[in-house]
Symmetry: C2
Subunit: 226 residues, 2 copies
Amino acid sequence: MKTQLYSFWRSSAAFRVRIALNLKGVDHQIIPIHLLKNGGEHTSAEYTAKNPTRLVPLLIEGDHAIHQSLAIIEYLEETHPNPPLLPKHLIDRAWVRALAMDIAIDVHPIGNLRVLRYLMKNLGVSAENKDIWSRHWMMLGLENLEKQLSSDSRVGRFSFGDQPGLIDACLVPQIFNALSAKLDMKTYPTLMKIFDECMTLPAFIDAAWEKQIDAEGLNPSIPPKE
Amino acid sequence: MKTQLYSFWRSSAAFRVRIALNLKGVDHQIIPIHLLKNGGEHTSAEYTAKNPTRLVPLLIEGDHAIHQSLAIIEYLEETHPNPPLLPKHLIDRAWVRALAMDIAIDVHPIGNLRVLRYLMKNLGVSAENKDIWSRHWMMLGLENLEKQLSSDSRVGRFSFGDQPGLIDACLVPQIFNALSAKLDMKTYPTLMKIFDECMTLPAFIDAAWEKQIDAEGLNPSIPPKE
């Protein structure tokens, strides 16, 4: 059976894994899980049985189901070592993992759909304050990344050297969110340079929002690049 | 130079790394960074220069500084493979990483000190609602973990088999938080059985809140075990 990925077009976590699968050339099938329609397809009994956390993405390999985007990417790195998404040297590996986690742990979960919903529905936070919240954590995270990447000699065409890797797979989806939230991206010149470089590659282009089979409309929320 | 860990006694992320260092028997020195005193010592120019994300923990090895608890633990796993904190088989490794991330990504960051502060200070959320928020994400996460661990044959004395590992290093600090928030832990019998097992081991006991050099008072927030 072909590898399957349960995915939602706008999910950053699913987007990361789509990039990794493409970079490694793993033949796979995307199964869309809509996080809004039908009361959220991720909450169905069928999906919950596969993934008790009710989140996307979920990778299916034969009898096995693997959740958590970074755990999936580490698994792909171990099962399909080439091309590598992590460097060889141990200190570099730690640095790459840490920067990927700066996004996946300290930015993304705080602005996730379910969190924003809870803020509004259960804490009575206004739509305006919800946006301020979401932008605050994104800006803080991107600022930290800009600081780290702009001053590190390991950065090349991509976040680590001249081959795309784990940081890039986390950075690009986060920048899609930032563009959608209309953040001022001029503040992050290093990140945008890397983003632009990534978006010349089919692995990233094909993983992007608008290329997904479940993408809706023309995504007017993505402003055209200047 | 001895390995150093910048740590705060109540930080779950630092607690995870303290457990990992102890389990692997890595000789190290703890350097306390107080997240509240002096306007937050993690915001000092000196600490920011070492760790631009201004979070704990931070591991110093010679000239290298490594941040992000899970990146540090993966680094320790690669530099000090014995005893292993991750299983051998690739599917099991993925499962262990995913469950560790269920805590480190989908529970902990949402209830982090800086997030709770922002909720109250910037969004005007009441102290009562802040606690409801924090308990909600913890309960959801622990419930998911209980579901996954109670039905998996890989669970033994510890989360994976009969040796403590990465899931345990993430679970125990989260349970300290849950006990401190006075959640009803009877709902999580599998997690509590593993927690009790972990807390018989010096590696966990010595990493706990009350054993830290920067621990304050008698931690009346930890209710005595029934």
